[in-house]
Point group: C2
Chain length 199, copies 2
């Protein structure tokens, strides 16, 4: 990477954290310049407009999610261990990534759901592809014979997402010390409900 | 109600809808005055400050939730029918209330989770009391012998909240036509998992 790429990366990393706290709609080149002590004109040369900045922040967040959660989890053995790996890494991402805003995508969802435009369209595409990936992994668990054939992959992906949203609510808003234990029990119940006698 | 109360009620009703869309932090006396075509000074005489307005909007939203969801559902027979009634009315509230922002409280949760202050404190109190009420209803289902004694009421309340958050995500952001059917199936699975053989 050249110096420009390194700077751009550092800016985007900071912007993802800022957007997790104030919403993507609260993210502007001016505010970012102020927080990073950079010139507005310098930031404009990287991102051109508020809209382009928002799109790049979403794309950068998605790339980090793939890198931290999806890619390593897909190295776990096919079947139930792979679902568990996706869940564990997703939970770790919600806790640690990036800086202090909790799960970047959860924050984006309620920020953008009522704001039509290119950022919302991109977020919808990203969320659909994540739900689609979860459903594909569930399908492979059925094929491996560890889930019953009547398990509905889209329903399972939806329910797993609900577990993660409830975790986010209990941990970020309510500061409930049992939040993580509850999320793990909720996933275990979902897995148990789908499991074949043999698995 | 006097004329002042009627006006105050109409303003708060509109403010709840606006806050559902732009977040409580985006709600200001100026913006509300503009949308309602009222004078800022008139609104100040009702609400005194942005902070006081935000608190009153949360309180008004909570009162409407109790009126539309909690009170009528508590008239359903004790036990499983009461959980189902709470869920049905909660789902109807998320769809219809108030104006177009989706569930007011879901919108507030991610808006306020990173913003310390009196509004966040009040929201935490309201959310805890709602989760506590759900857990109490689950406890009464256990006492009625319709749920097994090992059902954890707090876990059940947490999981039911997750179902509702996943519904909100699927319906508001993804515009998924299967969102409601999935939420109903997810609740049915939770109920089945807790049910005694006799119920």
């Amino acid at each position: 990477m050249g110096k420009g790429d390194t700077t751009r990366e550092a800016i985007l990393r900071h912007a993802v954290g800022l957007a997790s706290r104030v919403g993507l709609s609260g993210l502007s080149i001016g505010r970012l310049a102020q927080e990073l002590d950079l010139s507005k004109s310098g930031l404009f040369s990287h991102f051109h407009s508020k809209e382009a900045l928002q799109i790049q922040v979403l794309e950068y967040g998605a790339a980090r999610f793939v890198e931290s959660v999806v890619r390593p989890a897909l190295e776990a053995p096919r079947g139930l261990p792979r679902i568990q790996a996706l869940f564990d890494r997703w939970l770790a991402w919600s806790e640690s990534e990036p800086s202090s805003g909790g799960c970047f995508f959860v924050a984006m969802v309620t920020d953008l759901d009522d704001r039509p435009g290119p950022s919302r369209d991109l977020l919808v595409t990203l969320q659909r592809s994540w739900m689609g990936l979860l459903a594909d992994v569930v399908r492979s668990v059925v094929r491996e014979g560890q889930f019953r054939p009547d398990v509905d992959p889209e329903q399972f992906a939806n329910d797993m997402y609900g577990v993660m949203l409830a975790y986010h609510h209990a941990s970020r808003l309510l500061a409930d010390p049992a939040a993580e234990a509850r999320a793990r029990r909720a996933l275990a119940s979902l897995l148990d409900a789908g499991r074949t006698a043999a698995s």
